[in-house]
């Protein structure tokens, strides 16, 4: 379970989100919704331990992320798969090297075994054919798929985090990425936290939803709760 307990987060001395209380149960996907700059991605950085909460605590699988020291954080992050906004693929490596990167760094597997795992992951995202290509040669949607494959390289990531996985993609590609996010969640029973400002994509991938506005979480719940909300910001969001 991922739990935010009265969490305030920000950069320097600037508070971006405050008093956040949300819970993501095991095997569920929560979508964080909100307008640009509202602090959605900041929450992900909190889960990753890149930002330390000013107040409150972030618990992941019973572990208080804010209390982990540097070495413990490096180990903790190995259990988390993160898909960055535009993939954040290493442009000095090929697609296959990107996907196998974690395995080369953290296991003593043979090259053959790693290649087998890389091919399996790339098959899962339907991109085995680009294994030797440079990330520069890929389209936006393909980069996101490779990023998802790379995030799953550890045998059993407990948590998957997606930062705007469909931003800048055409509707067809967005849909295929959403389907992939769902597929990852259903096949591997991971907890997922998805940040997006696209409501259609949110409803495609999410079980639970949280709305952020003016640095606060103003509403959490399932799709029905969201659709029945009378909050003016949520109503505006739903109508656009």
């Amino acid at each position: 379970m991922i739990q935010f307990e009265s969490v305030s987060l920000g950069y320097g001395d600037r508070v971006v989100v405050s008093d956040v209380n949300i819970e993501v149960p095991d095997g569920k996907t929560m979508v964080i919704l909100g307008d640009s700059g509202s602090g959605k991605s900041t929450l992900l950085k909190g889960v990753l331990g890149i930002l330390q909460p000013f107040t409150g605590k972030i618990m992941v699988d019973g572990e208080d992320v804010g209390k982990l020291n540097e070495g413990e954080l490096l180990l903790y992050r190995q259990r988390i798969g993160m898909v960055f906004q535009e993939g954040a693929l290493f442009d000095s490596l090929t697609v296959g090297e990107n996907v196998g990167f974690w395995l080369w760094e953290h296991t003593d597997w043979s090259d053959d075994k790693i290649e087998e795992r890389v091919r399996t992951l790339l098959r899962f995202v339907n991109l085995e054919q680009v294994i030797d290509q440079s990330p520069d040669a890929l389209s936006g949607g393909m980069k996101r798929r490779v990023a998802i494959a790379r995030a799953m390289a550890p045998q059993d990531p407990k948590v998957m985090l997606y930062d705007e996985p469909t931003t800048g993609l055409d509707p067809f590609t967005s849909r295929s990425i959403c389907d992939l996010v769902r597929q990852v969640q259903s096949e591997f029973s991971v907890m997922s936290l998805v940040v997006t400002h696209d409501l259609h994509d949110a409803f495609r991938v999410g079980d639970l939803f949280a709305f952020i506005h003016d640095a606060k979480v103003i509403l959490t719940g399932d799709r029905k709760t969201i659709e029945q909300s009378t909050d003016p910001f949520v109503r505006t969001f739903l109508s656009t």
Partner: protein, 258 residues
Amino acid sequence: MDYLRKKMLELLQSMGDFALMVAKSFRYMATHFRVGDTLIQMDRVGVGSIPIVFLASIFAGLDMALQFEVVMAPYGARALLGKVVTTSIIRDMGPVLASLVMSARVTAGISSELGMMTSTQQIDALRVMGIDPLDRLVAPRIFAGIVMMPILSISGDFLALLAGLGISMAVGHVPAPLFWSGVRDALTAQNLTDAFLKPLFFGFILTSIGCHYGMKSASGAFGVGRSTTKAVVSAAIWILVANFLLSKLLINIWGLSG
């Protein structure tokens, strides 16, 4: 006053971050040395810089010999050309010039590369994968700078001396054996220490400053451009400052003999 205070705090913070980055990188070099990554960086930092450093060294040698010949000829001191050219090249001109040329290439390259990686979240991706960027990216670059800079600088010094010999023979009509005898006189322990120690420090300065600004780069083309400019300017200034301090230190240690 507030502005000055803010700038002062920023400077102190930056110096603290730099010290921490360097300390951690040296720890990684000692405890978790990455042979493959380091060899790649040695190739990029060192082998890739050979043409530009050698070219600069040759022209520096030509120019120094020419200038000294003009000054010394009226005093009939051409016989000392070999010693004077060698001393000035291996103690100062060679290491400083090679490092400044390298800073334009290596510091800018490192800063912009790491800056783009920061900007496109590749550095965050490394952290998320449980890999410290200082281990994977910074330590190999600093180590490569420290090892490759002395090799490049000393090789450049040798080429500069050959160029100096050429000018001394062609313009000053100094016989080659006389020039080489001056070179031999100048190859004292003190001068050789300068020739080796200075580029070692300069190699550290130009790579560590490139890494520091790259890792702290703001997002976007403007942010990366700005951090690259700052990195190159800082590296050049610190090389000159370090050169003076090292010269003073080594003179204090060895005395004033040449």
